[in-house]
């Protein structure tokens, strides 16, 4: 069985922009248990920064709220769930389109979801208007020592 749950952490913090670096560094530190490459760590940091920044700018529109992160490590993958209880997304498909932004007056470029999708292996977006938004991302972490792990059937 590959998907044996191995480790988990939860994080909750205020939607302040000064917490953006705290959030990405904390998730990266937790992910380092999987011994990822520097590039994989950079990808994770960027994706987390995108999702957390979206909660602050779009979800809570720079007002105070709570952002939650749940992070799970598996044998060779990481799953990161980032959620807010903010205003929600009306049209998720449109929001995910490259260069789509609802806040061009704030010099946003509409690249956030595109970056998350290209840096992670899976990105799921769930949202309910007036209730909040949850982004779940998965990334495979390659085993770095070159020795292939034996698949043990339980």
């Amino acid at each position: 069985m590959k998907n044996v749950y191995e480790n988990e952490m939860k994080l909750e913090f205020l939607s302040k922009s000064s917490n953006e670096s705290f959030a990405r560094i904390t998730v990266a530190a937790f992910a380092s248990q999987l011994d990822p490459s520097l590039e994989e760590i950079a990808d994770i940091k960027t994706a987390v920064s995108e999702a957390v920044t979206n909660c602050i700018i779009h979800g809570y529109e720079e007002k105070e709220g709570i952002i939650k992160i749940k992070c799970r490590l598996f044998a060779n993958s990481i799953e990161i769930e980032i959620s807010d209880n903010g205003k929600g997304i009306e049209d998720i498909e449109k929001a995910r389109q490259v260069l789509y932004t609802s806040k061009s007056e704030l010099e946003r470029s509409g690249m956030g979801f595109t970056i998350m999708e290209s840096f992670m292996d899976e990105v799921k977006v769930e949202s309910v208007l007036g209730v909040g938004t949850k982004v779940t991302m998965k990334k495979m972490i390659k085993v770095s020592d070159g020795i292939e792990e034996m698949e043990v059937k339980l």
Binding site: S17, S21, R24, A42, E107, R108, S109, M111, G112, I115
Partner: protein, 112 residues
């Protein structure tokens, strides 16, 4: 941010010395706009040698400063960009408007 202005060449060099995200961008934007407005440079160079992280906030920040510089007739160049950041710049398509100079041969080098 470290600012240097080469009057002779009307070259404004903005060396960013922190990670670029939504939080840090506000400060960077204000300072960069101020410097561009007082100098009206022919070229704005963002030096990324001390930048180890940038997310999409940086793309908006760069495009905004590019528009301002262009309004005053100037151009823009990015130097010493790390591969992880180049990946994001390439994805955004802004490299069609703004050039990345690898170290060596850039105006910045010639000036030092």
């Amino acid at each position: 941010m470290k600012v240097e202005y080469k009057k002779k060449d009307k070259l404004l060099i903005l060396k960013i010395t922190e990670e670029i995200d939504h939080h840090s961008c506000e400060k960077i934007k204000k300072r960069a706009d101020y410097e561009i407005e007082i100098h009206i440079p022919k070229k704005v160079v963002f030096d990324f040698s001390n930048v180890n992280f940038m997310d999409s906030s940086g793309i908006g920040m760069i495009i905004g400063r590019y528009k301002l510089a262009k309004m005053f007739g100037g151009e823009m160049e990015l130097i010493n960009v790390k591969p992880s950041i180049k990946k994001i710049l390439e994805m955004s398509g802004i490299l069609k408007l703004i050039s990345i100079e690898e170290t060596g041969g850039s105006e910045f080098e010639k000036c030092i």
